[in-house]
Structures are given as structure tokens and as C-alpha cells.
């Protein structure tokens, strides 16, 4: 909840649990590494 006092606004920001975005990056990076690995094998 934000608060206002004489035109001064105090913004309350809650602790974030960024699990979803961080896990999405982890998965995307794993997929990219896999793809790269397959390409290397294919070209070998």
C-alpha cells in the first residue's frame, strides 16, 4: 500500500519472488546450449 502525506507519496514495493523469470532464463539457456551441442555434433 502506498501512502500520501502533503503531496509526498511513499511507494511500498514488496519483496519479489522472481522464480518464474529466472527459471525461464535457465531453461532457455539450457535449450540454446543443447542446440549448439547438436550443431557441433552434426558438423563433426
Amino acid at each position: 500500500m502506498d501512502y500520501v502525506s502533503n503531496n509526498v507519496t511513499v511507494v511500498k514495493e514488496e519483496r519479489q519472488d522472481k522464480g518464474a523469470a529466472v527459471l525461464a532464463y535457465d531453461m532457455a539457456m539450457a535449450a540454446q546450449k543443447n542446440k549448439k551441442g547438436k550443431e557441433v555434433k552434426k558438423n563433426a
Binding site: 500500500m1 500520501v4 502525506s5 507519496t9 511513499v10 511500498k12 523469470a21 529466472v22 525461464a24 535457465d26
Partner: protein, 344 residues
């Protein structure tokens, strides 16, 4: 169906009737707040007689509820309940309007926060800031920090005039304070996953199996602060990226995961273009619009200690300004001997 302007008017005229006895003389005021990424929100403050701090209740969510079919009486009751539940703020807020005028109070608490320049044109026209590639460091006064998060006030241009302080002076104070008040936290992805899964109750054996520590240059690192709120600015703390680059043994690519944290990986393992696609995709699917930082990837040069935009998509970005060659570890600007002057 009321349009949003009519809804605002209705709330201002009728919310008092939904408040419990004792709030008959509460002052109700509509105001607009610009949040990160130029998101405009409309709120109503409910200031009871004899008090000087009022909860700011945002109407946008309630209007969506109304559009979904909830009747106005129910919405007025929900709003009144919310106002009453938040009528007693934490003690730090009680004299905040007076404290905020005193630069001796402010100078111990001013912090820097990283936001994206592309999506914050309006905000940046009204707040002091320093540009860093396509990001900007804006300044806030940290009023309160607890297990729930932080309470802060954004500093606007008119406040600088009032305090008679320059942006450079403010920046210097913010660099010192932010590292002290919101210390950096760098975690490997394995540690982060361990934390997430342990919170969900996963047993130790399973954690060991899933969260196996990888080689340093194969790891992804999450950079934030201890609070995990507005932690993306931690990439501008002195030594954070240098220490990580030493640990990894290479330069780093930095991914702007959100305003709350960045992700770093070794430049040996990925390409900037591949990572940029990833950032665009994750931003679009996993990050709330108000928490997005940037769609671009940065390169940290460990030898030069600089951060620069890395992906080729930035060629189309008009924001890459002449000031883009900052040494990012030297976040302290050269204002030695230029401490804040007289303060009212």
C-alpha cells in the same frame, strides 16, 4: 456502464458513505501517480481528520472489477475495508512530509534505482537521473525496509531546487548509500533454484540432484540486492561485476531480467544475439510490464571495467547517447569537494 472518469467521480462522492463511523470527516482526494515504465495510475487518498498520512488506494484494479460485473456497492465496501485496514502506516511514515524537506534526513537515505530509458520518457523528464546506455539511474529516498519490502519516495526535479542540490551531488550520495543500505547479492542459478525449490518443500536429496553446482563459466548468476527489490542497480555497485568476472574467468553478458535483478553469464558460452532474443521473449511472457527493465543485452569488459550494449539490435536504438562510455565501476561522479551546500 460508467466510463473511468465517471467511476472516479462516483468513488469520490460515495466512498465516504461506505466508511465506518469515525471517518465521517475523512478528506477524499483523487490523484494520479506515474509508476515505472510510464504507467499512469489513478488513486484516492482517504485522510481521516487529525491525521497527516493517508493510504493511496488505486482505482484502476477496482474499475476492472467493476467492468467484470461486480456491483458498485460491493466495490465501495471493498475500497472502504482496504482504506481502514491501512489507516495506520509504519511509524517511519508519520512525519515523512516534514522529514523529506530536511536534506540532512534525505542525504543519509537517498538511493539509486535502475530503470529503462525507452519506456520512461515521461518519468525521466520530471526526475533527476544519470544515463547508463539504455538505462537510467533515478533516485529515491529509502524510508523503510522490512521483511515485506521497501518504502521509498521518488525524487523529482523540483525537490533538487528546494534542497539546492545538484544531480551530481545526489548521485555521489546515492552510490555510497545504496551499497550500504541495499547490499548486493550475487547467487549462482544453482543456489537460486535451491532456494526456490526448498521453499516449495522439496527434500534434500532431490535438491542435491536438481541443483548440482556447475562449472563457474557454465553458470548463470543472479545479481540483485539483499531485499530483492529494485536490485538491478547492483550491477552499478563498485566491484560487483569485476569480482564476478574474476570468479567466472571471462567477460560477462548482462541480461536485464527486471528492475529487481539482472542475470550474468560468461561471454565464452553464449552469443549476444541469442541472449537478446531470450530477453525479449522472457520479458514478453514472464515479466510484469511495470517491472520490465530493457530488451537489450550488455557486455561487461572485465579489463576496461565498462558496460556497453552488446546486441546488434541496438543499432536501431536512438538512445545510445554520447555519454555511453561510462566506466561503470566508477559510479562515483567526479564531484570531490562539492558536497551538498546549505539546506533548508
Amino acid at each position: 456502464m460508467l466510463n473511468f472518469d465517471e467511476f472516479k467521480e462516483y468513488v469520490q462522492l460515495n466512498l465516504a458513505d461506505a466508511l465506518p463511523p469515525g471517518y465521517e470527516n475523512a478528506k477524499l482526494t483523487i490523484n494520479e501517480v506515474v509508476k515505472n515504465n510510464d504507467r499512469h495510475l489513478t488513486a484516492i487518498t482517504v485522510l481521516p481528520e487529525g491525521q497527516n498520512v493517508a493510504p493511496n488506494i488505486y482505482l484502476d484494479g477496482f474499475y476492472m472489477e467493476y467492468q467484470s460485473g461486480t456491483d458498485l456497492d460491493t466495490i465501495m465496501d471493498e475500497m472502504a475495508d482496504m482504506a481502514v485496514a491501512h489507516m495506520n502506516p509504519v511509524p517511519e511514515f508519520e512525519n515523512i512530509a516534514k522529514d523529506f524537506q530536511d536534506f540532512d534526513f534525505v542525504k543519509e537515505r537517498v538511493i539509486m534505482v535502475a530503470v529503462g530509458r525507452e519506456r520512461n520518457e515521461e518519468l525521466l523528464s520530471d526526475v533527476p537521473h544519470q544515463n547508463r546506455e539504455d538505462l537510467a539511474l533515478i533516485y529515491k529516498v529509502l524510508v523503510n525496509s522490512d521483511k515485506e519490502g521497501i518504502g521509498s519516495i521518488t525524487i523529482h526535479n523540483n525537490h533538487l531546487n528546494f534542497w539546492d542540490v545538484s544531480v551530481e551531488e545526489l548521485h555521489e550520495l546515492a552510490v555510497e548509500n545504496t551499497e550500504r543500505l541495499l547490499p548486493a547479492r550475487v547467487q549462482s542459478m544453482s543456489e537460486v533454484m535451491r532456494e526456490i525449490f526448498a521453499k516449495d518443500g522439496m527434500d534434500e536429496d532431490m535438491l542435491e540432484m536438481l541443483c548440482e553446482e556447475r562449472a563457474a563459466d557454465e553458470q548463470m548468476y543472479v545479481i540483485s540486492n539483499e531485499c530483492k527489490v529494485n536490485g538491478a542497480a547492483a550491477i552499478f555497485y563498485e566491484e560487483v561485476l569485476s569480482n564476478l568476472a574474476d570468479r567466472v574467468g571471462s567477460d560477462l553478458f548482462i541480461l536485464p531480467s527486471s528492475i529487481h535483478e539482472c542475470i550474468a553469464v560468461s561471454t565464452n558460452t553464449f552469443t549476444a544475439e541469442g541472449l537478446a532474443e531470450m530477453v525479449v521473449d522472457v520479458n514478453a511472457t514472464q515479466v510484469a510490464p511495470e517491472e520490465r527493465l530493457s530488451d537489450h543485452v550488455y557486455h561487461f569488459d572485465a579489463a576496461a571495467k565498462t558496460i556497453k550494449l552488446a546486441d546488434t539490435t541496438v543499432e536501431a536504438l536512438g538512445l545510445v547517447a554520447a555519454d555511453s562510455s561510462h566506466n561503470y565501476e566508477a559510479t562515483k561522479t567526479n564531484t570531490e569537494g562539492n558536497r551538498p551546500r546549505h539546506h533548508r
